[in-house]
């Protein structure tokens, strides 16, 4: 096995990893970024529904009641998300667990994150969508809310010169999306960071003090950790990196999986690893628009329809948006069915075609994100494969039913004909009972004031393991009720600042927005 030295090893290249990679490289440290997934970015994206393409970059982890989808690719989820970039509401930071204890550690608040939100927004060129750019489905949704006297806000996006081709979630072939490929990652590389795709971290172990060049706590270059990796995918070469600082940014699943596999080498690791996964309780409802509402358009304009309602945030802990799913993600998530046809046969055949013919213009899909409690957990089975579980099902079922009732009320009071939305599993079979699917998972290595309640301290450092950090969504302790990417990035910026301060380093902390859109020709 080859041995390599680096000052900083960053695991992952998504929202939680890119900021520490950039800031620590700017501070003059030798930074190595390992990304488990393949290289991808503008120029490699396709506007397609081909599962062979999608499954190359997007992975899933499922259980009976919860499905998590995440990206494994250079840039992480930033290449494939809908670009929605919202600050988490204050009410998210005020959540408490069943014992009345705060979910967020002391001092990590919206106000504390706001300067880092500012920085992240500048880097990603986040702006509120103009009214004239809101896609039709979003306009119709806003009209429906307005007719009921409800509020609806124009959302914010990380995009420049969007052409509205509708394939944000398969990667923007025009370079309009301000993914990490056009800001953090190239700037990190320019500052000296080396980014290696197809490189999977297998385990981390603390080096004995005698094996290090220096045991001085304040020296960021003194190797403290050995990280065993496989470079080059399946069958690739085994390499061991020795690093003074290791930053885990592989996401809720990736970081927990790595820490769980590393327990033998990390003696002080909290028993909370893998626990407290939050998932932004997404509930969906759909209906056929009445004649007095104009057409929506499921396939024109950006993937997210532009509008979000905070009307029920304070009262019910949910935000509501419309949705414009592309066909394959929609079919892979739920069966839409006319309510008066049998469940057993209404999801295919002539009845289904009759519905699908209306899907593009006459169907509105509503969905929520909510402040559901962090009751998911991830463990490893005897083969090292991750297993997902959910507790508190009765409470989640009540939340699901209550939220669905709100959505159905919005539909019916607008004259829509509600559709049945039957969740399905990965084989297309119906998933009875409470079932959530999300790309907005957080937690699994949450921040906490003590190792008894979480895995990392408020600065992202693993309790009991100096120099080992978790900077991604795994560290976020709660659901946010809005898309999680901006909060993960802002918190990662905050953690990066903390690392610099911890070691007495001064980074340039350049805030250089990404390049503007590349108006590529259609291939």
């Amino acid at each position: 096995m080859k041995l390599r030295q680096t000052d900083v090893l960053v695991i992952g290249s998504g929202f939680g990893a890119a900021a520490p990679a950039l800031r620590l490289a700017e501070a003059g440290l030798k930074v190595t970024v390992l990304e488990k997934g393949p290289n991808v970015g503008p120029g490699l994206y396709r506007q397609t529904q081909d599962p062979k393409y999608l499954m190359k970059y997007l992975k899933g982890l499922g259980s009976d009641h919860l499905d998590l989808v995440y990206a494994e690719a250079v840039g992480g989820g930033s290449g494939f998300y809908e670009m929605v970039s919202l600050r988490a509401p204050r009410v998210a930071f005020a959540q408490r667990d069943g014992n009345g204890s705060p979910l967020w550690p002391d001092g990590v608040t919206r106000e504390a994150l706001d300067p880092y939100y500012d920085r992240a927004e500048a880097m990603l060129r986040v702006e509120q969508i103009r009214a004239e750019d809101v896609p039709r489905s979003g306009q119709v949704f806003a009209l429906m809310m307005a007719r009921l006297g409800y509020s609806c806000d124009r959302a914010r996006y990380a995009v420049r010169n969007c052409l509205g081709s509708g394939f944000c979630v398969t990667g923007c072939i025009y370079g309009a999306k301000q993914s990490l490929h056009v800001n953090y990652l190239p700037q990190a590389a320019a500052a000296g960071a080396r980014i290696t795709p197809d490189a999977e971290a297998l385990s981390v172990r603390a080096l004995p003090a005698s094996a290090t060049r220096s045991v001085r706590r304040g020296d960021p270059r003194a190797p403290r950790y050995a990280v065993r990796c496989r470079i080059g995918g399946e069958g690739g070469a085994l390499v061991e990196y020795h690093a003074g600082i290791v930053v885990l940014g592989g996401g809720t699943v990736g970081s927990a999986r790595l820490l769980l596999a590393s327990r033998p080498g990390l003696r002080h690791l909290s028993d909370q690893v893998g626990q407290h996964i939050a998932f932004n309780g997404s509930v969906k409802a759909a209906g056929i628009l009445p004649d007095d509402l104009p057409d929506g358009d499921m396939y024109s304009g950006r993937s997210h329809p532009g509008m979000i309602s905070y009307e029920f945030l304070e009262s019910h802990g949910i935000t509501i948006s419309a949705a414009k799913p592309l066909p394959v993600p929609m079919i892979a998530t739920a069966r839409l069915r006319l309510p008066d046809v049998p469940a057993a046969t209404g999801w295919w055949g002539a009845d289904n075609v009759a519905l699908m013919e209306q899907l593009r213009h006459r169907v509105i899909v509503l969905f929520t994100m909510g402040l559901t409690p962090p009751v998911g957990s991830l463990t490893l089975d005897s083969m090292g494969a991750p297993q997902l579980a959910v507790t508190s099902l009765p409470a989640l079922s009540r939340y699901e039913r209550g939220t669905e009732a709100i959505l159905r009320s919005i539909l019916t009071r607008n004259g829509c004909r509600p559709l049945a939305v039957d969740a399905v599993d990965r084989t297309g079979a119906p998933q009875p009972g409470t079932a959530f699917s999300t790309t907005h998972q957080t937690g699994s290595c949450r921040m906490s004031d003590s190792p008894g309640t979480g895995v990392v301290d408020p600065h992202g450092e693993v309790h009991g393991h100096p120099g080992l950090f978790v900077s991604d969504g795994a560290a976020i302790p709660s659901s946010l009720a809005v898309n999680t990417s901006l909060t993960i990035l802002a918190n990662a910026e905050r953690i990066a600042d903390g690392i610099l301060a911890r070691y007495g380093l001064s980074g340039a902390t350049n805030v250089v927005p990404g390049r503007t859109a590349v108006r590529a020709t259609i291939p």
């Binding site: 750019d133 306009q139 307005a146 609806c152 081709s165 394959v328 079919i331």
Partner: protein
Amino acid sequence: MNCPNDPFDARHPNRRQAIRLLAGGIAALAASACTPATIILKSYPEQYGRGTAATRRTLHAFTATVIPGLTPDEILAVDALEDPFYPTAKYCAFLASDLDRRAGRRHDRLFFELDLPKRTAIITKALDEGDATTRKLYTGAVFLTQAAVYGGIHDDSAGCRLTGFPGGNHLADPALVSYPDTSRFAARALSRDGNPA
């Protein structure tokens, strides 16, 4: 019949191992058309190999039943069921033979020779009354067919005529993306800049 061996989940023994493993009892299972045993023993007629004319003809009829209204060319473009990338490819020969077996038993015809209501009834019955593996196989095949057709997965730019999905690499007329009279669609905003408080 209860068929505990689920070929989607179990490692697949080869033919010899399967026979050794299941010994004499398997013959009885196969004779009664238990899906796992039939698949393991490949105890369906030879003309239903992957890619054979009989298999393709039947699978095309299956596609036309799952999504009525497709043109013959559109049906021909759907080859996902036989694509080795998807798990159904290993079972498409069985699926075709099972569809024809069910059609023969009920109507003394091949599946593709039946009209749409009869084909629909056969798939419905398999989904409703088949053993667990049969239901799983048929469900997966319907699911993949829908994804393939509605998503136009065989060609990035193809889209789907039935649903109006344009596929990739097309840009909509900007005038058709949003309605111009934006004030008509304005709702009261709770935020100053789109961010929640």
